[in-house]
């Protein structure tokens, strides 16, 4: 078995604006099962960060426990990482983000980490609109403990051992919209053409960007009857839109059909170009997004693409009106007002 990836790369590998190739964004060789969807998502993250020329040392990867939470080792090897307690990634991410808002925060989690043990943390980080990208690698089972149904397993889905899941699934995307996430998308690990631009858009979104990515577990949940298998997802996938992320504002060169093309301007002036495939859906309208999700579910379809985006809501720093300089860069003299000022404050309470 190979434990190390060969160091040679294609001599003509393209370089980004920083002069880096994909190699500078890769991590160590994955130890997940061969064919795991999570590895594809890792590759999509590598691709997105490479394409956006993000400086690797300005990224923090934070995860909990689980197969998905192991993946930060397998991408962005030159970035910061924190493998936290099961389900507690949002707290660590909140703390880190509060201390240094200049970093890019990748929260990586799974369906167990987010929809079971960490559910309490997830809902609050959504509510606070923390500026981060939160990716759920959703395989509908507990792969690390031999494939028991997870809270996102669909009702009626058949496990590898043959049992049918009797419980309702938690629909993470609907939940995120409901709780006020300002960027909600759904995708599939096997569709990088969609996933990479989605991650790029999420990285440019200022606020909580939630990506629920269906990621088949090849070992325990890729059997006939499972609703999270490669075959099932490919058959039932329905995209809201095809999406281009436009880092700068070029002229519109392609003419889209009237009413089918929407552009969403992000905080930093970048654009998302959406070529809508679904009718009566508006990515900036929460109700239509929820409706679209419910309709798809009733038809046993998996709706993917950007579902909802709101660029007006404040992120947590905006809401708390924190200082422009990141907390960790404030010096003692900035933070400590001195004896005089303290006395004045104390006197105010007397």
């Amino acid at each position: 078995m190979s434990y190390l990836k060969p160091l040679f790369r294609h001599p003509k590998l393209p370089k980004n604006k920083l002069g880096y190739t994909l190699k500078e964004y890769e991590g160590s060789l994955s130890t997940l099962c061969a064919g795991c969807g999570h590895d594809s998502i890792s590759a999509a993250i590598v691709q997105a960060c490479f394409e956006l020329s993000i400086e690797p040392h300005k990224v923090a990867k934070i995860s909990g426990i689980g197969c998905s939470s192991k993946t930060p080792t397998y991408f962005l090897g030159n970035s910061h990482g924190f493998n936290s307690v099961h389900g507690r990634m949002p707290s660590v991410a909140t703390g880190a983000n509060m201390a240094n808002k200049d970093m890019v925060y990748f929260g990586v989690s799974g369906d167990g980490d987010s929809a079971s043990i960490g559910m309490g943390q997830l809902v609050h980080v959504i509510r606070r609109n923390l500026n981060m990208v939160y990716i759920v690698m959703n395989n509908g089972c507990y792969g690390l403990t031999k494939g028991q149904d997870s809270a996102t397993a669909d009702q009626g889905s058949k496990s590898k051992a043959g049992s049918i899941n009797p419980f309702q699934a938690i629909d993470l995307a609907s939940l995120a919209i409901e709780l006020g996430a300002s960027f909600v998308a759904q995708s599939f690990s096997g569709d990088k053409l969609q996933l990479v631009p989605l991650i790029k858009a999420a990285l440019h979104h200022k606020g909580f960007a939630f990506l629920n990515v269906i990621s088949p577990c090849v070992t325990f949940n890729n059997n006939p009857g499972s609703t999270k298998s490669y075959d099932y997802v490919r058959e039932h996938i329905e995209a809201t839109s095809s999406l281009d992320f436009v880092p700068e504002m070029p002229e519109i060169k392609t003419k889209y059909d009237e009413g089918k093309s929407t552009r969403v301007a992000m905080h930093d002036g970048t654009l998302i170009q959406l070529n809508k495939l679904a009718n009566d859906w508006d990515p900036e309208d929460r109700i239509s997004a929820v409706n679209a999700l419910q309709k798809a579910r009733s038809k046993n379809e998996i709706l993917t693409g950007l579902l909802y985006v709101n660029t007006e809501w404040n992120d947590l720093h905006g809401t708390l009106n924190t200082h422009q300089t990141p907390l960790n860069k404030l010096k003692e003299e900035d933070l400590c007002p001195g004896d005089e000022a303290l006395k004045e404050i104390n006197d105010g309470f007397r």
């Binding site: 078995m1 990836k5 294609h10 001599p11 003509k12 061969a34 064919g35 590759a43 070992t219």
Partner: protein, 601 residues
Amino acid sequence: MKPTNTKDPEYYHKVVDCQYACPAHTPVPEYIRLIAAEKYTEAYMVNWESNVFPGVLGRTCDRPCEPACRRVRVEEEPVAICRLKRVAADNKGDVKNYMPQGPFQPNGKKVALIGGGPASLTVARDLAPLGYEVHLFDEQPAGGGMMRSQIPSFRLPEEVLNEEVNYILDLGIHTQFLTYVNSLKDVLEGGYDAVFVGTGAPKGRDLPKLPGRKEGDKFIHIGIEWLANVAFDHIKSISKKVIVLGGGNTAMDCCRTSRRLGGKDVKVVVRSPFDEMKASPWEKEDALHEDIQIIDNHVPLSFEVEDGKLIGMKFQKVRPVYDENGKRQLLPTDEPEVFIEADEVLIAIGQENSFPWIERNIGLDFDQWGMPVVNEKTFQSTLPKVFFGGDAAFGPKNVITAVAQGHQAAVSIHLFCEGKDLLDRPSPYTNLISQKMGIHEWSYDSAVIIDQRYIVPQAKKSVTLKDRKKEVELGFDVPTAYKETQRCLNCDVQTVFTADRCIECDACMDVCPTSCITFTANAEEPELRQNLLVPAENLSQDLLVSKELKTGRVMVKDEDVCLHCGLCAERCPTSAWDMQKYFYSVTKAYQMPSPLPAIQK
């Protein structure tokens, strides 16, 4: 594109760049692995089966395999394939037991081989075990041809050559040395079922029209003739100041031999720029190392003779000019003529074929350049009984080409003697077998080592320049050889793709270190090449294209910089990728039995 036909024996063969580039198609990675496993005897036999002279070639081969080595495309320096071959020869055990054992059951057929060089010896080796009565004629006192007369002993010790020539002669070859054949007609009347001509290119080019050539004749020698005279101890010394004309490997051998016979001030003067000289780069390096000056861009004008004694040569300086097709012209510069002192001159500006002993009225056609008309595939001349090979067939090349042609000529002679169609040739022997040993375990060392090429140690100049028979290169020692073997990328372990098993999880595409694998919509080749993760711009390397997959896409693998690291197969959940070793052995008249599998048609 249509799905790649990997059943074509040439598809995977082409992926093994070194083997494909080798005229004899020696299974290079196979013997390199055997060397790594310290199985030198087996490694030697893999070579011997294919190229007949592993010890000779491990020292003197032109190494067409090395520039082709995949390592050049991902790193810089190729694996030291040639010198590893020598390691097998140096460290082998008893190999004779693995060779065909005579006496062989006679098949009643008799063949004559004219010339005792590598081509003829190869024919002899391939035909003798089939029961042919083989008669070999050569004017020299021993077999080996130009390997003996032209390659100096400091590059190729006589013992090595004798050993490998004798392996063949011991198969029961009837040798007639010191016999110059002066009439093909006479040979044909000798009752042979077939005649093979492997007389090489024995005539060194001269500069007969250059002023002073006649007057200075005593001091001017033809390079290959002079080398032969040195080899057979007819010449034992040379003057102090020597000019060698020419820029090929013979010129390098001449100047280095001169240094050993008393030449102190030895200069090579060549018309072309240094970088475009025909000599192999390592031969030039070795010459420079022995304090030989190489003066490029100088065209000879005259031999200068005073009082019946050569005093030097005059040259015109030139500069290369290239037209839009890259064709070179050497234009004189304005600089004055250059005089270079010399006591003796060796002319090593090329060699030619010469067939004064073949009668032109026996039905054997010659072309306008005086070369015999020979079929490129069968090596048969217009006189059906007569076959050509080696330098005699298509002009001067090298030992490994002569061996490759010898094998093919032997196949033709065998088919001819059996009354079969010469163009209906048996297929090469091929074998493709999985290297999977368990989960994520391969039978070959799949790790890719980033070490740079190791240097072959040489004996001290102070020692080698004193004795022309002292070999300069010492060869790799065993630990260094092992390290060098690890640089081989095992290109013969193929990435075999089974489309029906693929679930399109992208794992192989994500993990491939050199971005060779892409799943994409099918298109015509030029477009498809551009649509890959990294465009496939090396057109000499093929694309492996699968049939259409479930999502309507195809798997496309650019063979160009694949490291054969096996990660695609390790990360494949369904074994759609497998690492399978491809063995390819060129068609031969006599295919060696064990340790190598026999040819079947």
